[in-house]
Symmetry: C2
């Protein structure tokens, strides 16, 4: 494979360039003609479909249903919850014309749909019998990103889901927030093999308009934290301006309690960064468009026929076991070129089948994630591959978890904080809870407060910055 | 059920009002705050999910894959194919601002994605080995509708899929056009139980930029034709301005041949109109969010317990057979109210279970579509219901087909044309092929040329209008 086709940037030395090359050369995505926008090619979209299918199933099992909201929101509606509007206003795309006519009230392209959804919910909800109302929307959000756009991580339009739920009591709404966070954690860890740390965002970084925001954070190989999803408790902050109320069992009119939550295709970006290597993409089997590629090896016409025949037998046997399998029978390419091509694309398992293998009633199985090879018996290909796919999925998570655990370090001195940060670590420390200290740390080190973890070791140390009594544990890191 | 809750308009006397009431009161959709836009509530979206799932499966089985395109298209790109641009320009929403900044090149909200897709395809396609390229996009399209907006039928944003394929030869591209048309026909007839007539659009009504457009037309109870989907042969009309070319086997640079095709949530509108009745929605079992509703009937606390217990047994047995079943155990509502409620929502089968039924080891099964009831044995509920769901699905199609066949009438005199049109008929006649006659007929009768059917009886009559030699059969009707 020539240099131009393969990955030419080093993951260690030029992480950002490496990332972009993997996305483009593995044909997951491409740039659209408008700056900041990307297109998903079939392999990239297929990963999103896998994530969507897995998450959608869990959401339906827990009583959520899907709906559709239009992308256009009138300015007047978006402005109804002030903090929310101020938060999103700088990055809103505005429609001002339709055909040759000017539009009176400007129309925002959905940056998020709280305001639109709740203006409708207030019409739909009448009594306690209509609650809980739990609707999810698979759509895209639009937020004009001027600088530092990066496929999947920061784009002006991104695919996501946004869930908007309404509950009779505060307890129920808060339980919803946590139920969703757990569903997200399960999906991210089990499908994408990315370990996450869950907890709350600080007041400063919570969703604009929320009472509090819970988050799932992971750490990328370049030492930056990536927010993988959020689940917000909205309290009655939106139900009051939007009149989302219900008649309770005693016929008393009551404002409802609300939650909203979302994950986006950013998950794909995290997966690329956590698992990819110098040869390109490394895909967890569960989300890989193709799980096994079979490459027949031959140097004569006669061998070709036999190898293709045997390869097709394996293909059929795997396919009938629901393995997503492809046979690469392109004649114009060498086996070596094909190996590199499928490694770049991150396909979990490669099966090589040549005359010598067949003579020994075996084939070669090569694992993408750890670059190991084994001979496996032709009689047991299907069961071996099935076990191996499960094993790879688990092992990729175990490896990523080990790395994450090693890279989160507990410190009690600010000097140490700064040193470990330079080493690409995520910093676990005590924090007084004041935004002043959070701001100062950010200013001086570039690291933000990523999450106040739920399972933080609540050591009663003093604040890493001001040395006042530490009220809580917090994790700091640089971000994207 | 009080009058305000149920359908108060007559399907025969005020079809338009009847339609809107069904959509809103059955809770399929609601109006968004921006004129011309609607929201899908979970029952409406669930029908779209069923259509999508069925169609997506067929597309994947025939080698199509999904992708994602952003909603924003630069004006310069949209204008690259002139006729295409002129066709869509009057109804384009334009983004001119992002945050507080003005945008230089205005951005169109996707009215359709030919231009965007093909600007990318020209980068992705290098040689004959990259063909055919068959990508489908599940998204929404935006076309500003100023007048006569109607949920599902005419809205400024609508859910749809748009497929865009590239082929090495004209033959292949034309085969694609027909393969898709057949997939659409199968989906519409087998899932939605709506019979369609397939054929070509006239030159006047073809897709702007296409060589020709094939269409699926159905006839609604008010005598108007509804276009259910289209599949276009684009020839090289787009490949030339967008430089979609490939190196053929002899290394000669060649312009590719293209097809594009789409169906939208308009299919849901057609389904409502064809099957609905005075009590509301009537859903074909395959797309109904709930296929069977069980209503326990009791007037004492003791009976209640027994009925709920028995109802739950039936529910579990049906659910384990993959029937989408719901038990309506709401205590505050009478059985009569519940009957009306579920009839309004169009649920295909209702099971009533009361003390007298249980005593006879049976339950009552009521079919929504023809309002008939039968006692069925408790021992065979599951198998009976499964057969019945299949039977209802088929029978709904048979009934609709019979009505369509009766309403398409062959005429050879223009006077007869006008009379039959007034009777709500679709007119089958000979046409000389000139747009002058097509225009005159439209002007004088309001009926448009809907389709030149593939299986039209090619009688060599004279043109219904000009009396010159008839070159082809054509179907005329009023439209939406």
């Amino acid at each position: 494979m020539n240099k131009e086709v393969g990955i030419t940037a080093s993951k260690n030395d030029d992480f950002s360039e490496w990332y972009t090359q993997v996305v483009i050369k593995a044909e997951l995505a491409d740039y659209a003609p408008v700056k900041g926008l990307i297109v998903l090619r079939p392999d990239g979209y297929s990963i999103w479909e896998s994530i969507k299918e897995s998450l959608d199933k869990k959401l339906k099992e827990t009583g959520h249903r899907n709906g559709f909201l239009p992308v256009l929101i009138p300015e007047s509606l978006l402005g109804k919850e002030k903090k929310h509007f101020e938060g999103f206003n700088p990055e809103v795309f505005w429609v001002t014309q339709s055909g040759d006519s000017e539009i009176g009230d400007r129309l925002a392209l959905r940056p998020t749909s709280e305001t639109l959804a709740y203006s409708l919910y207030s019409k739909w909800i009448k009594s306690w019998r209509d609650l809980p109302l739990k609707i999810n929307f698979w759509n895209s959000a639009l937020r004009a990103e001027i600088t530092g756009t990066k496929p999947f991580l920061r784009t002006s339009e991104f695919l996501w889901q946004e869930g908007h739920t309404v509950h009779a009591t505060q307890d129920e709404a808060e339980n919803e927030v946590m139920e969703i966070l757990n569903i997200y954690k399960k999906t991210i860890e089990e499908e994408l093999a990315i370990p996450v740390i869950t907890g709350k965002k600080s007041e400063k970084d919570k969703f604009v308009g929320a009472v509090y925001t819970t988050t799932l954070e992971s750490l990328m190989p370049d030492g930056k934290a990536l927010q993988m999803g959020t689940s917000h408790f909205l309290g009655q902050n939106f139900s009051k301006p939007f009149d989302v109320k219900y008649l309770d069992v005693n016929n008393v009119e009551t404002y409802a309690w609300q939650a909203s939550w979302g994950v986006s295709w950013r998950l794909i970006g995290g997966m690329i960064m956590v698992h990819g290597d110098s040869k390109g993409l490394v895909l967890p089997p569960k989300v890989s468009p193709i799980q096994v590629v079979i490459i027949p090896i031959y140097y004569s016409k006669e061998d070709r026929e036999t190898m293709i025949l045997e390869a097709n037998k394996i293909k059929d046997s795997l396919a009938s076991n629901n393995v997503r399998v492809e046979l690469d029978d392109r004649d114009n390419l060498t086996p070596g070129f094909k190996f590199n091509d499928w490694e770049l694309k991150g396909i979990p398992i490669r099966i090589e089948i040549g005359p010598k293998d067949i003579a020994k009633n075996q084939v070669v199985m090569a694992r993408r994630y750890n670059q190991t090879k084994d001979d496996i018996s032709l009689d047991k290909v299907s069961e071996t591959i099935n076990l191996e796919l499960e094993n790879i999925q688990q092992q990729m998570f175990v490896n990523a978890k080990k790395i994450l655990d090693e890279r989160v370090v507990r410190v009690s001195e600010y000097q140490q904080f700064k040193e470990e940060l330079k080493n690409g670590k995520m910093i676990d420390c005590s924090w007084c809870g004041n935004q002043t200290c959070e701001d100062k740390i950010k200013e001086e080190t570039g690291a933000g407060l990523r999450v106040v973890p739920f399972d933080g070791t609540q050591k009663s140390e003093t604040c890493i910055y001001c040395k006042n009594s530490g009220t809580t544990n917090a994790l700091f890191a640089k971000g994207y």
